[in-house]
Symmetry: C2
Subunit: 202 residues, 2 copies
């Protein structure tokens, strides 16, 4: 049994080794430079070996994608200390946007790229679902205080997520250049302010 256990653990360690290498290349040189051969070279194994631990390249990115969600969920942890529902919603938005600003590549991988989405249906979005459920719950809490009365939480959550994602996606994909006079982060900050203002008046 102990042998099987060690094997199991070694398998896990190897996966982690591959993921570490992949993450570091991905964050340093971007998605397209993160090739199987580059990863293999970094961990000093042959390219074929990687396929003994991941079915295909996108599997690696799916794993990193999940890691991204774990990071985001971790950032959201502090929300439990914000008692007022609407304040919690605002804080949630701020955390979401800061995450995109500080983890551009992870955000891209999680919410924009197709690569990690080409998976079997199972646990495709387990982590994403958790975050979304979190948002829906905050909205329901808001509704309990009389805010957002009459709105369907499904659609309202989609709209709020979209508004935040829109700013983050324009940021990640360099469309903020459409405002050459403005700093991208300023646009996001001011955009967020307007959004909050708007939700307030709702």
């Amino acid at each position: 049994m102990t042998v099987a256990n060690r094997k199991q653990r070694e398998k896990e360690e190897m996966r982690e080794l591959i993921l570490d290498a992949s993450r570091s290349i991905f964050l340093e040189k971007g998605y397209h430079q993160t090739s199987i051969r580059n990863i293999a070279e970094k961990i000093e194994y042959s390219p074929g070996t990687i396929y003994l631990y991941f079915k295909e390249k996108d599997d690696i990115f799916h794993a990193l994608h999940e890691e991204g969600f774990r990071r985001l969920v971790a950032q959201m942890e502090t929300l439990q200390f914000v008692s007022d529902p609407f304040e919690r919603l605002k804080a949630m938005g701020r955390i979401y946007m800061d995450f995109a600003k500080n983890n551009k590549d992870f955000y891209d991988l999680m919410f924009i790229m197709q690569a990690p989405m080409n998976m079997e249906e199972r646990d495709k979005w387990e982590m994403g679902d958790r975050t979304l459920d979190h948002l829906k719950n905050v909205l329901r809490d808001c509704q309990a205080t009389g805010k957002f009365k009459g709105y369907d939480v499904e659609y309202l959550s989609f709209f709020i997520w979209s508004s935040m994602h829109g700013m983050c996606a324009l940021y990640c994909r360099d469309r903020c250049n459409a405002y050459p006079e403005e700093e991208a982060t300023t646009l996001m900050h001011k955009g967020f302010e307007i959004f909050i203002d708007m939700l307030d008046k709702m």
Copy 2:
């Protein structure tokens, strides 16, 4: 002179031929299947020939990207018949969203992909700028009627664009699957309704 003219015209025709082939492969099989060799085969020329008309592959996608903007601007034409500024803003949003729904791949190319953005600075976004200016003008018209009082048009336009883009981007990149119970187009429609509702109360 006539010979030079013809040469010029033939050059233009060849570019158009390449773009037609590229567009048809792009719309049928997606970005990654649109390879130089596939395009070359379709127009029955060798791969090298394409480089006599486009400096690099992304040049082709930049051209298609601009074509997308011309299509969108064409759709926006009808807006001139909507006299009320706020109604015009709403109509603009509807047109924008319908464009994304009906031209998913073009929308992706225009607002999400990096490919056509890797260009020299010149005329990178000439068409995009025009659309954005259009939005800003509509917002200024709204302000002239007392709506959106006190908001900076720069930031307000960014926020409004972001909200619309967010829904369209989640749609294009299959993140609407986060709502397995809902049809993606329903989400967009309902999301847009909430957005309008919100702008109304602003």
